[in-house]
């Protein structure tokens, strides 16, 4: 299986974020996952686990702590797959 592009990962993240974004706030690369989309600190980790399982990768908690935006998460996940 070929590795997904960063753009594909970004689209997947947007899809996985939907249940965590009940207000339907607009998602952009620059959107802060906690600050703009209002996902609480525990729910962020639940959402990250879904992303991990989809791509069969591990995103350690210390890495998640440094990720603020949707775009940063997409790039980090891409980095773990390359």
């Amino acid at each position: 299986m070929t590795a997904p592009t960063e753009s594909e990962i970004y689209d997947k993240i947007c899809e996985l974020l939907k249940p965590y974004n009940p207000k339907g706030l607009p998602i952009e690369r620059s959107s802060g996952i906690m600050s703009d989309l209002e996902v609480d600190s525990v729910a962020v980790f639940d959402f990250i686990m879904e992303l991990e399982d989809h791509y069969d990768i591990s995103i350690p908690m210390e890495m998640v702590s440094d990720i603020k935006t949707v775009g940063e998460l997409s790039l980090a996940a891409k980095g773990l797959m390359s």
Binding site: F45, M49, S58, M61, E62
Partner: protein, 410 residues
Amino acid sequence: MTALFDKYAPLQTRVDMMMKIGADALGVKFDDILSATRGRIGNREILLAGTNNYLGLTFDEDCRAAAKTAVDDHGTGTTGSRVANGTYAEHTDLEQALAEHFGMPSCIVFTTGYQTNLAAISGLAGDKDVIFMDADAHACIIDGSRLTNASTIRFRHNNPEDLDKRLRRQGEIEGGNALVVIEGMYSMFGDIAPVDEFLDVTHRHGGYLFIDEAHSYGVFGPTGCGIAEEQGVLDQVDFISGTFSKSLASVGGFCASKHPQFEITRKVMRPYMFTASATPANICAARVAVEKVKTGGYLRENLKARAQQLHAGLKALDFDLCADPSPVIAVRRPNEGIAAMEWNWLMENGVYVNLAVPPGTPQSSSLLRISLSAAHTESDVNIIIDAFGRMKASQAEIMSGMMIRMQAAE
């Protein structure tokens, strides 16, 4: 330019909303604590059903006598850490008693339960190790892992298969080991870990299993050692931590290990080395409580009966309960606002439970969390059930009353 406290503006808004609804659920002030199950606010007596006093030993005659004697014999405080000021004979005696209770060669006591996990996890995991923690792990486990340079990976709550998958995904840990951290009984929902299955998965991958039995020590197992003993696998567990501030009716914590080399961590655990050691009164009260735990089958029986009684009573009222009967029974509410209104109503009607809201809860739940005590009687539990029943029957009145309060606060 922003001011120092501007970052707390969203939190302040949330707190302000709570205060309009009623009292500060996270800052309740009791004028007196009368017994293991009763407190007083003003001239109102409150039934305590949220204090984690599982065996009800805080007013036990022998525990109190031990604490009083300790103050008379050894003073009110230790004034420093064991590294700087030395170890009291009572510290060592308690460590030996707990080690013997678990059938393990090593046990270290700490000043609080929170510091126990900070210290033990940060002492065990080095920069080449990988910590695998349950998704619902307590804050002290998360914070303990933050004190290390180890990579930390979460696995799905109470799911050994998911742990297996993540350990496989990790592969060989070059120059390090896997430290798997779970809890025996989880504090918010009161659900129980399948420790036997976690042991199998962890050891199959060559890892070490660390169990926090803070809420289960004293409560489960034939001699009260906790869930690992209850499931017949105590001798296989690598590390067991716990607290004095629940079943042991004091303040402090411990970590026991089947690995005698655990002793070396006394020289590296910062939350052990750089804080004052537990006071003589706390240590001596806990020492007596350990003996009460060992022989406390009758306490555990009563606690179990009360848990089944409450669970059945709330179930009959059609409340959504988060787990099977255990000393922690969490009632799931539709949202934070309703939970807060109901919490206030229960307090005004003489029953203290915990209001638990996100992000301190799993699945972003809003909970009315009850913790039972062996000191609760059948009649006490009937009072709790009756209060929840009346609360449910008074929903419209509760909502309108709170709306009036909120408008008045505008």
